[in-house]
Symmetry: C2
Subunit: 343 residues, 2 copies
């Protein structure tokens, strides 16, 4: 069985998702800065997974430190936390995980305590994420009917999380409940997470998956082949507006035009009550080379202007329900997330 990320006690193991599906290669990182670079360069990606990676990276920083006293160690750990906060701006799970680790730093007073408690907290964040995915799957499975073909975008699967997945977790749970579900995976340009990762994951599970290019989504919705759409999320604002992989917004508008339910599955750590709405979510713009080159092959003229926003924002009015591990927000456009969070 593969893993997106694994804590090894004195190192972090990660499957290099840039090389899938052709190569399944794991890296072991022994220094926190290598973990941060792995997040930046997308060895690992997916909002929940990068939160876990940052937590493990901070635990690693405590293990490998040569600090001479506790205040020097705490200073180093805060610097490490700051390093992780600069890796990627959009997914709020990253900042949520860093905050948990910072609280653990504040609550610990000796070298041994810091090392032990940070390791424990990172392992807990990982395990809680897997448990949350499975709970989310159970809450969400009832929205998928036996015989449905479900479209998804990007990869919100085991590879994007600690394991099992958010959007793909809901699909997995429906299949485990005995429903026959087929999946349409949009390839997800420019980084092809759908073609390379979602297709790979679902084939391993024996769930029937058909790959399409992103621009075919409307055509297949119109032909009546898609009954439901389910995606993950990188940040859900207080009013329910949802940042997710670029292309999600287009799918949501098309879903509305075809009266197809559009679900978002994400752990509570993706809910961000401090961001009022989608306009306040920072959208990462990545290197133009991700668009101009494909696995080293140039596909656009030299020197052309390119835009490469990695995410877009889907206004809450397009979202039928938000599925979390704590239950489902059925009418997000009406209530946002604050009532659900008890805030």
């Amino acid at each position: 069985m593969y893993h997106s990320i694994k804590w090894l006690g004195n190192a972090v193991s990660m499957l290099d998702q840039r090389l899938l599906p052709s190569k399944e290669i794991y890296h072991e990182y022994k220094h926190f800065n290598d973990v941060a670079e792995a997040i930046e360069t997308m060895v690992i990606r997916g909002a929940p997974a990068i939160g876990i990676a940052a937590a493990m990276g901070i635990a690693l920083a405590a293990k490998t430190s040569n600090a001479k006293n506790i205040s020097e160690l705490k200073e180093e750990l805060h610097a490490a936390a700051g390093r992780f906060a600069t890796t990627r701006p959009t997914a709020v799970n990253l900042f949520w995980a860093i905050d948990r680790m910072k609280k653990t730093i504040a609550a610990s007073n000796t070298f041994d305590e810091l090392r032990e408690q940070l390791e424990k907290e990172a392992i807990a964040i990982h395990q809680e994420d897997i448990d949350a995915n499975k709970a989310m799957g159970n809450h969400g499975a009832r929205y998928l009917a036996d015989g449905d073909t479900v479209m998804t975008h990007c990869n919100a699967g085991a590879l994007a999380t600690g394991g099992y997945g958010t959007a793909l977790g809901v699909i997995r749970a429906a299949v485990e409940h005995g429903k026959k579900i087929k999946v349409f995976a949009c390839e997800t340009r420019p980084y092809l997470q759908g073609a390379r990762l979602t297709a790979w994951e679902l084939m391993k599970d024996g769930i029937e998956v058909t790959l399409i290019t992103d621009n075919m989504a409307g055509h297949f919705m119109k032909s009546g082949m898609i009954q439901k759409i389910i995606v993950g999320a990188d940040r859900i604002a207080a009013n329910g507006d949802t940042a997710n992989k670029i292309g999600t917004y287009s799918h949501a508008v098309l879903a509305k035009a075809h009266s197809i339910p559009f679900y978002v599955a994400a752990p509570v750590s993706t809910l961000d009550p401090n961001t009022p709405d989608g306009s306040a979510i920072p959208i990462e713009e990545r290197s133009v080379d991700e668009v101009a080159y494909l696995q080293g092959v140039q596909i656009a003229p030299e020197g052309i202007f390119i835009r490469n926003p990695a995410f877009d924002v889907t206004p809450v009015k397009y979202i039928s329900a938000i599925i979390t591990e704590k239950g489902v927000i059925e009418n997000p456009a009406q209530y946002g997330i604050k009532g659900f969070l008890g805030k």
Copy 2:
């Protein structure tokens, strides 16, 4: 200056569009069957251009024939016409051009007459297409305002036609009229005609072009960066429903949701009064390898199911106007194309 296609008297010269933008290589075809294969394998593509190619191919068949008498020659020419009719099913210009060549065959009675008249007709089809593009540009330019950013999909430019272009012809004409126009080109998976061809053409013309992936279209419409959308067409049914490159339909639905005018530019030879509506247009499904491999690099797991429809149909209700060389159909949803054609 480059050319998509050129008649050389005893051969047809084509720019190999599969190799752009990295290589600009021309092939000379001396046998009609090689021209047919060039259409099938997408050395040349674009509805008007493949019509011209088929016409030149049939003229070539007359030139190279070893037929012993006129009825044998006519039989060979009808076989050649039949061969071209099997190359690609969706673009109606192909069948329109073949029909013109068949009428010329019927009207000619000697070897010399057949060779001369078919050559003349093929050259006329080519020249008329360039003239039509320029007339279309002049009719369409008034729909683009100074300062507009215009989004386009696939390549409906000089490379898709005899020269100048349909959708890009309208943009070129607006620029020639002194308007400042910027273009957003969608890359157009799987074959990347936007990234490889539209970007290349417009850069050569000095028209500012920004490349985006197809799934970014909705995001940039929402951010207010796109004022108009203009695309070409492969077949326009009697009621105005329009087949064009896969992804066009999604853009049209998104344009409506953002109140962005959506224009189709195509010569009258693309209008097909014999096809009542979009549901009767045959949609070509191409090889799954176009999705799974990119310039020889595998980007999806081995053995995965893939769908690859090359076109989709945009219902006429999404189309603001159809721009042709004979004038503009302003209210296609109300009147279809039959009134315009005087039928």
